[in-house]
Amino acid sequence: SALTQPRSVSGSPGQSLTISCTGTSSDVGDYNYVSWYQQHPGKAPKLMIYDVSKRPSGVPDRFSGSKSGNTASLSISGLQAEDEAEYYCYSYADNYTFFVIFGGGTQLTVL
């Protein structure tokens, strides 16, 4: 089944917030291969964080990632209007030959 994310979060410009992603000891808890993707309506997902806490080139340092046990988190500081999007977490899960699992998604609303 999918990784568990809150359905929605919201914050005002300038604020900080965190989105959680809960899995199991077979995926998030066992591997440091958690990624986060941002998806604006009608657009393809964009990689924001990989390997739990690494940022690809071009992603603002307002975005950061962490993990504790079976739960990974995406933190966004200094919230901006353009951060409003759907966010999905993703984890490698070696319970098949090669299997990856996504979260159900979190809608971030900037108030």
Binding site: A2, Y31, Y33, S35, Y37, K43, A44, P45, K46, L47, Y50, D51, P56, Y88, Y90, Y92, Y96, T97, F98, F99, V100, I101, F102, G103, G104, G105
Partner: protein, 119 residues
Amino acid sequence: EVQLVQSGAEVKKPGESLRISCKGSGYNFSTYWISWVRQMPGKGPEWMGRIDLSDSYTNYGPSFQGHVTLSSDKSINTAFLQWSSLKASDAAMYYCARHTTVTTPFDHWGQGTLVTVSS
């Protein structure tokens, strides 16, 4: 610039076959893998399977094994996702995405192909 460009939207009837494509450019296509991801309306992404473009080795997610086929043509830098008999439940947006190993992230995605299946 790395680009994955997918084929256009499709409208099909149940039982029909379909093949959609994903063409890579701006990088050495055959040194990467391509995964396909399904996204149904209002839902999170689901990993369908991957193909290693160097040798066409494939793995499929449990929900998709036997229902879809992944293939590629390195001569034209293109990966394909194919159905032999579509169901209404196959209606979704489909994305291709590239990565290098089982544990590397999907760092570039195609723009998506919308598949509509209706009688």
